[in-house]
């Protein structure tokens, strides 16, 4: 899903190969609902004969395999627990710190195995490429029509679930005043303090940080170069801190200013408060960049009904509000604000942002990535 913390990447890759090589493939047991519907081909709750029949079929499977869902990311810890207690289905959460690429690898290498992941939470580009490779099952959740155009694949191969803005987190006990814009970050008081959540050629959040900086510096979705130049400038004035942010580096004071998703930064604050850190989160006023993750079902999910129930749960008001409680902005948030199902307290706790989010197209993102990958190292190394 995201990689800054996936230091174990090599080990995981090796593990996937090993498990793929020696795992016996018991095959997926065909789960058939009451009405004789094969859960693997069901594209909506109606195909099961209604939501209750879907719950029934999922309960019969009894288990759900998830991957790359860190408990402290977008409130997945509580989401998993609530799902388990609501439906009595055991969730086996594998490798929480894995990246989107790891997820896709797991789907491919464990095709047909009982231990393949059932559902995936992917970066946008991986959702698109996975759909193109035919790895996902189309499924329309009950709330599918309410999800805005462009936030879903028309047949339901993937649906955006939650997202956030790039933000600047800062320990107000050590840094005064906290930066509120990219321009602020160049101030002389922040020597060696401004860090990213990972390497932008690898970590999605760090890439987004550079994209946001580009917008702040007069670039656009079509032009990420000013963002690269900004970080070069940041490095030249001595403010850039190459340490990749984790909760541990923040706590140790290695990264007192960190550019990251607002839901990640905001979630740090209550965790770090008892440890004497006053972690403040500001969405930069000059560079707003919003992005969402996407949810998809593995086409060869070993627990196809449970996977579909998981989707229904995530896009129910309860699931969406749980994301919101983790400071992530759920895809149905505008709809829920209108029909009053939103958790007002959680919504009020979000970092403030003015204006509506804008989205780059896939082509724009791809071009920006290419530019970044070829230019980043040359600009920053040394």
């Amino acid at each position: 899903m995201f990689t800054p913390r996936a230091r174990t990447a090599g080990a995981i890759a090796a593990l996937t190969v090993i498990t793929a090589a020696c795992g016996a493939a018991p095959g997926t047991q065909g789960t058939t609902a009451e009405g004789g519907v094969d859960a693997r081909t069901a594209t909506s709750a109606a195909d099961f004969g209604g939501f209750d029949a879907l719950v029934e079929a999922a309960k019969k499977e009894g288990r759900l395999h998830v991957i790359a869902l860190p408990p402290d990311w977008a409130n997945y810890g509580e989401i998993i627990k609530t799902f388990e207690s609501t439906y009595g289905i055991t969730i086996e959460s594998e490798d929480p710190d894995a990246s989107s690429a790891d997820e896709i690898n797991a789907v491919k290498t464990r095709k047909g195995q009982d231990r393949a992941p059932d559902v995936l939470d992917l970066g946008q580009s991986f959702a698109l490429s996975g759909a193109a490779e035919g790895l996902f099952a189309p499924y329309k959740v009950q709330a599918f029509d309410k999800i805005p155009e462009g936030q879903k694949e028309p047949t339901g191969l993937w649906v955006n679930d939650y997202g956030g803005y790039i933000s600047i987190g800062c320990d107000a006990n050590k840094i005064n005043p906290c930066p509120t814009s990219f321009a602020d970050l160049l101030r002389p008081g922040y020597k060696g303090k401004v860090a990213l959540n990972g390497n932008p050629t690898k970590a999605g959040a760090a890439f987004a940080g550079v994209y946001a900086a580009a917008i702040a510096e007069g670039g656009s979705f079509d032009d990420i170069q000013p963002g690269i130049d900004f970080f070069k400038k940041l490095k030249d004035v001595g403010n850039f801190n190459p340490v990749e942010t984790t909760p541990a580096t923040i706590e140790k004071g290695e990264t007192p200013i960190s550019i990251d998703w607002d839901y990640i930064n905001a979630a740090y604050a209550p965790q770090l408060a008892p440890k004497g850190l006053d972690w403040q989160v500001n969405v930069p006023t000059d560079g707003k960049y919003f992005q969402m993750y996407a949810q998809a079902i593995n086409k060869d999910a070993p627990h196809p009904a449970a996977a579909r129930l998981w989707m229904e749960f995530l896009y129910s008001p309860e699931g969406q509000n749980l994301y919101l409680k983790g400071f992530a902005r759920p895809v149905l948030m505008p709809v829920m604000q209108e029909d009053g199902t939103i958790d007002e307290t959680a919504a009020a706790a979000l970092p403030e942002v003015e204006g509506e989010p804008a989205f780059p197209t896939t082509e724009q993102v791809d071009a920006a990535k290419e530019k970044l990958v070829s230019g980043w190292d040359a600009a920053i190394s040394g």
Partner: protein, 273 residues
């Protein structure tokens, strides 16, 4: 009768090699030259341009600096220990070297982050500017921590082989210290020195976990980190075969090093035969 029996005796080893080196190598070659099942040179081209090229150069630079400085420092340290009269010092240094030469990866990275990182204990005392550890020289410094002991282990036996009588004989013939080292000491040590440099280069070139755990990849691009990026990126899609091509590049560089090393080694040991 002896021949087939001898060949049979080596069979388990050959089979083992075929499995653990042969199959991965075949998979690597097959992957590096294909993309979605089609034969192509695009992976190789991509592995040698832009950020990947910068990383390849970065890796070679770090490894070369570590190998040369580690060789010099390690040799002097080994010489000091071998010529000291204290058996306890010798035992202690050699044992410590044996341990430290294998001290790598995440523990090593943590050790240095805690000591010389931005909020490290010693960096606070010395007043080091933030980010000192996360630089080219910072990484070289960290790598030297396992490279110097490795060099000590390589050089100590070779230095033991320098008999005091040779030096005395040279002195009796009117040789100065310089003459002795130039014509006796260094030629005897050259094979071990060369071997040590190659060993150190290889260890630094292939190192991954230390640099990854330090998060140094942002400022010091390394090819091993690029391979990990290509395999587990959130940003780039479908780079697996470029990772294989990068691995192939690494093999080629290791091959080039050996191509320089082997003739030198042969020349330097010629007089020993």
């Amino acid at each position: 009768m002896r021949r087939p029996a001898g060949w049979l005796g080596a069979l388990p080893l050959l089979v083992f090699y075929a499995f653990v080196f042969g199959i991965p190598l075949a998979a690597l070659l097959a992957g590096a030259f294909t993309s979605r099942g089609e034969p192509t040179l695009a992976n190789l081209r991509q592995s040698l341009e832009g950020g990947n090229l910068t990383a390849m150069i970065g890796s070679v630079q770090v490894s070369a600096v570590v190998a040369l400085s580690g060789a010099v420092l390690g040799t002097f340290l080994a010489y000091a220990v071998v010529t000291s009269r204290s058996a306890a010092l010798r035992g202690a240094v050699l044992t410590a070297s044996g341990v430290l030469a294998n001290f790598g990866g995440v523990p090593l990275a943590f050790f240095w982050v805690a000591t010389l990182g931005n909020s490290g204990v010693v960096s606070g005392l010395l007043g080091l500017p933030s980010g000192s550890l996360y630089s080219f020289w910072g990484l070289v410094f960290v790598y030297l921590y396992f490279s110097v002991p490795l060099m000590v282990l390589v050089m100590a036996p070779a230095l033991d082989g320098l008999r005091p009588q040779w030096r005395e004989a040279a002195a009796n013939s009117g040789a100065t210290a310089w003459h002795y080292w130039r014509h006796v000491g260094l030629p005897v040590l050259t094979p071990a020195l060369l071997g040590g440099v190659v060993l150190l280069f290889g260890a630094a070139f292939a190192a991954y976990a230390t640099a990854a755990a330090m998060g140094a990849g942002t400022v010091v691009p390394l090819v091993t980190l690029k391979i990990a990026n290509a395999l587990t990126s959130d940003v780039l899609v479908g780079q697996e075969n470029v990772a294989l091509a990068l691995s192939l590049d690494m093999i080629v560089i290791a091959g080039l090093v050996m191509a320089v090393y082997l003739p030198l080694q042969r020349r330097s040991t010629r007089w020993l035969r």
